[in-house]
């Protein structure tokens, strides 16, 4: 744009400001869900200095602001991947087969808390929690049941598992082997992002150092034997759910990502040998434009740093590919049907932001695990976006919007500021140890709650537009009997297997854990002879120790 044009715009804006200042504004605070103030109008002034070539470019071209593939959804739609799992492997297997029959294109496994924390179902700590928030997996026996009649070379599977990710991954590989499928053909993702556990979700087992070692062991094993696997899904989702702002989600997640890159390099791996297998997982919150700007900024920041700071040469190392889940924390127990609407807008934001796969929450998830009907509506929401709204016809349709580009830039700048603060601590691990992230998130969560209570922020059905209603009765119930059944199952596995071989393999693992040897082959050996998850984790816990949290409020 020429200087003359800009001058005209400035002049025009002045006139408009005078004119609009005579009209009274609503008393609201005009801010995003992250409390970022938003102007009444964005103009070319706000996008001055943006270069199409350097900052946006074409989709599939550096710095990938507009998308990681040249043709985006015109080539292939995003993967519709609904997170599911409950009760026992048998029940979950039936739900998976149902979802696949309904047109879902990838599986996403939710595990129960004992599995997530590395306890077998019959451990005293598991009391009351077996099969509650996901499926209970204790041994290879359960994993075989979970994927029975589902050919693992024809689907991709995402597993939401972190501290014990190595064990569950080995169980998956062993299950495939039993189906006669080579690990080279397996595709999918393990979340395996332990840093965000210390920061936000708090399902940790070991201290950070040995946890990172397990992750780099996975990097190394994957590059040799499971080349199509996404070895980490670096997750902002849980950071956001814990109460962070959009910028915090972006900055902390990317900082975690770079920390894994540094860990891999430090472990002696070539950056391009593992970076292409890193993927991301973001939240889709309710503030439409802020979220879209977040995804666009994420791609740009990742590409630039990977190239400039970490010297990645392979183009695939520069691509930030991500899964998205709509925001569980935006759902309300009041008037739950409204959650369908919230989820639809959030999903639309994720699609306009160029996500590679998407989970849409069910309306009843704020009260219990979703019913089949609620899951179907959630999946249909994605299908309506894909097939009816027309938003998948063109690529990055919001590019060039003064507002969206300005917001994208602002996101990038604020993220860089956080990077500086993290560097000042001496990196992500040091900042975790000082409680930096935890405090930032706790403060943001508390501020958000205060805004709602002071009615500076309106949540429909919660602090305004409230109706008296009867709570829904049609919720999914987990039979308490399931816990007993699962306990029996794991006990009978322990009785039936060859316990001498099993003990020997566990001892071999214990020995190796004290060295720098790659532990994945040893874990794989152990799961194949039906060593349980709890037994393997216990061996590692004894060698590595347990993490203890910092008191932060």
């Amino acid at each position: 744009m020429s200087h003359d044009d800009m001058d005209k715009i400035r002049q025009g804006k002045k006139e408009w400001e005078e004119c609009s200042s005579n009209v009274k504004e609503r008393p609201n605070k005009f801010m995003t869900v992250s409390s970022v103030p938003i102007k009444a109008l964005y103009t070319p002034e706000d996008t001055e200095g943006i270069s199409f070539q350097d900052d946006l470019n074409f989709p599939g071209y550096y710095p990938y602001t507009r998308g990681v593939q040249p043709n985006m959804y015109r080539g292939r739609l995003w993967t519709m991947r609904q997170f599911a799992g409950f009760a026992t492997a048998k029940e979950s297997n039936e739900r998976y087969k149902y979802l696949l029959s309904q047109g879902q294109t990838g599986l996403s496994v939710a595990f129960d808390m004992p599995t997530i924390m590395g306890y077998d179902s019959d451990h005293p700590r598991s009391f009351g929690e077996v099969g509650r928030v996901g499926v209970a997996i204790d041994s290879l026996d359960d994993m075989e049941t979970l994927f029975s009649d589902i050919p693992l070379d024809r689907i991709t599977t995402s597993m939401t598992i972190n501290a014990p990710a190595a064990v569950l991954w080995c169980l998956y590989i062993a299950t495939a082997e039993k189906q006669g499928i080579s690990s080279h053909k397996l595709g999918g993702t393990i979340q395996n992002d332990i840093l965000k556990e210390y920061i936000a979700q708090k399902s940790w087992i070991f201290p950070p150092e040995p946890s990172l070692r397990l992750i780099t062991d996975i990097f190394a094993f994957s590059s040799q034997h499971v080349p199509k696997w996404n070895t980490v899904s670096i997750s902002g989702y849980h950071i956001r759910e814990a109460g962070s702002t959009a910028v915090q989600e972006l900055a902390f997640t990317l900082a975690d990502g770079f920390a894994y890159v540094e860990a891999g390099i430090k472990a002696g791996l070539d950056v391009d040998s593992f970076a292409p297998r890193l993927s991301f997982f973001f939240n889709a919150h309710i503030d439409f434009f802020e979220e879209i700007a977040k995804y666009r900024a994420a791609r740009r920041i990742w590409a630039k740093r990977m190239k400039e700071k970490y010297g990645a040469k392979d183009e695939r190392s520069l691509l930030l590919r991500f899964h998205t889940q709509t925001a569980g924390c935006s759902l309300t127990a009041q008037q739950p049907e409204n959650n369908i609407v919230r989820t639809a807008y959030e999903a639309l934001g994720a699609v306009l932001g160029g996500t590679q796969s998407l989970h849409t929450n069910s309306m009843d998830e704020v009260m219990a695990l979703p019913t089949e009907k609620a899951v179907r509506i959630a999946l249909r929401t994605q299908q309506i976006i894909a097939e009816e709204t027309g938003v998948a016809n063109t690529i990055d349709p919001l590019a060039g919007s003064y507002f969206v580009e300005a917001l994208t830039n602002q996101m990038e700048q604020e993220t860089e500021k956080y990077f500086e603060r993290i560097d000042h601590f001496g990196g992500v691990l040091a900042a975790i140890d000082e409680g930096f992230f935890q405090q930032e998130i706790a403060d943001a969560a508390y501020r958000y709650q205060r805004e709602i209570e002071k009615k500076e922020r309106i949540i429909v059905g919660v602090n305004d537009y409230v109706t008296q209603e009867k709570p829904p009765v049609d919720l999914l119930k987990i039979d308490p009997q399931i816990e007993e059944e699962q306990k029996q199952r794991v006990r009978s596995v322990r009785e039936k297997r060859d316990n001498i071989v099993c003990t020997n393999r566990l001892e071999a693992l214990r020995k190796a854990a004290g060295t720098t040897e790659n532990l994945i082959p040893l874990i794989l050996d152990a799961v194949k002879v039906y060593a349980t998850e709890g037994e393997i984790i216990q061996v590692l816990r004894e060698v590595f120790g347990e993490y203890k949290e910092k008191p932060i409020f």
Binding site: G128, E129, P480
Partner: protein
Amino acid sequence: MNTARKIRVLVAKPGLDGHDRGAKVVARALRDAGMEVVYTGLHQTPEQVVEAAIQEDVDMVGLSILSGAHLTIFPRICELLKENGAEDIMVMGGGIIPDDDMQELLANGHAQALFTPGTVTADIINWIHEAMKDRLS
């Protein structure tokens, strides 16, 4: 010296889930309402929670459970309080708890009050003040 009687509340996260956003927001709100809040941290067994409640001589225990284990954990905690002669310690809770289960827990006296997502902290504070009226007078 200001040593007036203060309401003491133990905020605990029993069970294995680590979602502590709600527990921490509530802890801060109670502090800002002038209460003393003892926080036990994550991944606590019912036994640990009850023992802490006794040693800290709290007026009430607030449990945050999002893992679906509420129907086992609340009764267990009440049972342990009773075993230790501490049934005067009140129990309240919050988290992802279906309405049916809430009614069941309240009816059986396994909790004196339960708060679901979307509750404003002022309601929790008001409830505590109301419940504490007799003790403080």
